[in-house]
């Protein structure tokens, strides 16, 4: 009895310790980010603490910074194109990998994940050396294709996870009722895949928008993406402008998926009734 009581007390302390470490880890994860957001409203000329007053001047300055705006536009475009193309080819690949049996499928399954496991520096150098070997210039197209390569594993994994839960009888029923291949995919499979499509597109967008190391190698001469622009600004000094820029970026990259997620939730709630969706 007393042994059990001791065991329980031990368990309670262990649980408290777990909770405490968890809290510390969350603080660790968010303290620096919160500091950046707070400092972006600092009136001081310098980018650090202490706070000397509230000011929005750094946001104003940011809006007038032509270089930053250009980098922002570049990154937006690249990320949009990357997200659209990666989602399209990634979802089709995931569909094929789940539905079809063919030789080399296992190998392809592994190969598709590889870009996520090879360090970006190596991917970056590899493509750069290959481009140099065939004497081609670095172009925006190259940068986009590179970003697609980086994002493809994640989109395929997400779509595969969803595909597993979609039973093929639905598609085959449509086919037996006379629908074409394409129609059955468009009318049956794709709607069931919507959550994976949205999640994959958002992730691909973020991966591209956020990519730093590989972009440093691949970007065409004179072109800056948002992260490389921040890196080059940081080389000069930690100006308060960077804090403002960081805050704007956080709003964009956290806001878009959150809004996307909420929209999705609303959407699924709307069509929940009568949806033969399998829980995955």
């Amino acid at each position: 009895m007393s042994a059990a009581a001791r065991g329980n007390r031990e368990g309670r302390w262990a649980w408290r310790l777990t909770g405490f470490v968890t809290l510390c880890v969350y603080i660790f994860l968010f303290a620096p980010i919160i500091a950046t957001v707070v400092l972006s409203f600092n009136a001081s000329m310098f980018g650090g603490f202490p706070m000397t007053g509230f000011s929005l001047q750094w946001y104003g300055k940011l809006l007038g910074n032509e270089q930053v705006l250009a980098a922002f536009r570049t990154s937006m475009w690249i990320a949009l194109v990357t997200a659209v193309i990666t989602t399209a080819v990634g979802v089709v690949t995931a569909y094929t990998l789940i539905r079809f049996e063919f030789r080399g499928k296992q190998m392809l399954n592994t190969l598709v994940i590889l870009p996520a496991l090879v360090p970006e520096t190596i991917l970056g150098v590899g493509l750069l050396v290959a481009i140099k070997a065939v004497d081609q210039p670095r172009t925006s197209l190259l940068l986009v294709l590179g970003h697609i390569l980086l994002a493809v594993p994640y989109v395929v994994l997400i779509a595969q996870a969803r595909m597993v839960g979609i039973r093929r009888v639905y598609e085959e029923a449509a086919l037996s009722l006379g629908a074409s291949r394409l129609a059955s995919f468009r009318e049956i499979t794709l709607p069931l895949l919507v959550p994976a499509v949205v999640a994959g597109a958002l992730l691909a967008f973020t991966i591209s928008f956020d990519n730093t190391s590989a972009s440093l190698f691949w970007r065409p001469a004179g072109v800056e993406t948002m992260p490389t622009q921040i890196l080059s600004m940081l080389k000069i000094s930690i100006s308060p402008e960077i804090n403002a820029l960081g805050t704007v970026m956080i709003l964009v990259t956290v806001g878009i998926p959150l809004i996307g997620g909420l929209l999705l939730q609303g959407l699924t709630r709307l069509r929940r009734r009568g949806n033969p969706e399998e829980k995955t």
């Binding site: 262990a14 620096p32 569909y95 190596i122």
Partner: protein
Amino acid sequence: MTRGWTLYDPRLAWILVAPVLLLLIFFLLLPIAVMAVYTFFTFVTAGVETSALTLANWHEFLTDAYYHGFLIKTLRVGAVTALICGVLGYFPAYFIWATTFKHKWLLLLLLIVPFWISFTIRTFSWIHILGEQGLINVTLLKLGLIDQPMQMLYTEGAVIMGLLHFLLPYMILNVYVSLEGIDRTLIAAARSMGCTSAQAFREVTLPLSLPGLAAGLLLCFVLAAGSYVTPQLLGSGRDALFGNLIYDTIMGQLNWPMGATLSIVLFVVLGCFAALYTRYMGMSQIVKGLGG
């Protein structure tokens, strides 16, 4: 159905995967092959090399202690980061899994939010914590506990801190996915047979969550050892890692053959670790962690 083809015809499968397959071949496999060939090219002067085959690059790498130092430091930093991640990451993963808190999804969402925030911003934000005008120094100075700022930024510790910040969510999610896979009745069974909660954890939960922990360790190690931005922003020149060395060799010295050699070295070394690991853990764990 298409003329003469079966419903799930392999030919159709190849057509459907063609775009991704071509991309993987031309942007992943071929470049790595070309890079491997490049390691035997002769470096003439910055930006110029000839295709005369030579072993000079490999000779230089294998004999120069400068490179060995970089490699060892990189592996050490990677290993230390992965281990700390494992220890610190297990607690939150376990907490999220075991808690009866109704809004568990919120805790998980908070782990995913950092993935959405620009990596560069997450990294440089540490300057506001560790720097001379950072939160810690300014607070301690105000309190009069120190009379001049401590040097915390631009040290190896700061680099590891930045890497931890970037990698902890990966670790936590990996362990969490693995914990989620455990049949909870096993733990109830252990308890009913007289195990204390600590014993049940040691004998049942921990061993069953090891695959996730192991996958997390590998992922953290590989990502830390391949990092470039974190040492660049939070470390001094002395804290540069192998990724920085590769970048400087190619973009700074324009020594492409040597840069290719160093890239292949990093690729092979990390690949060996990953291969050893997957031999014992299986690929599926890592995949689960990435898709989680």
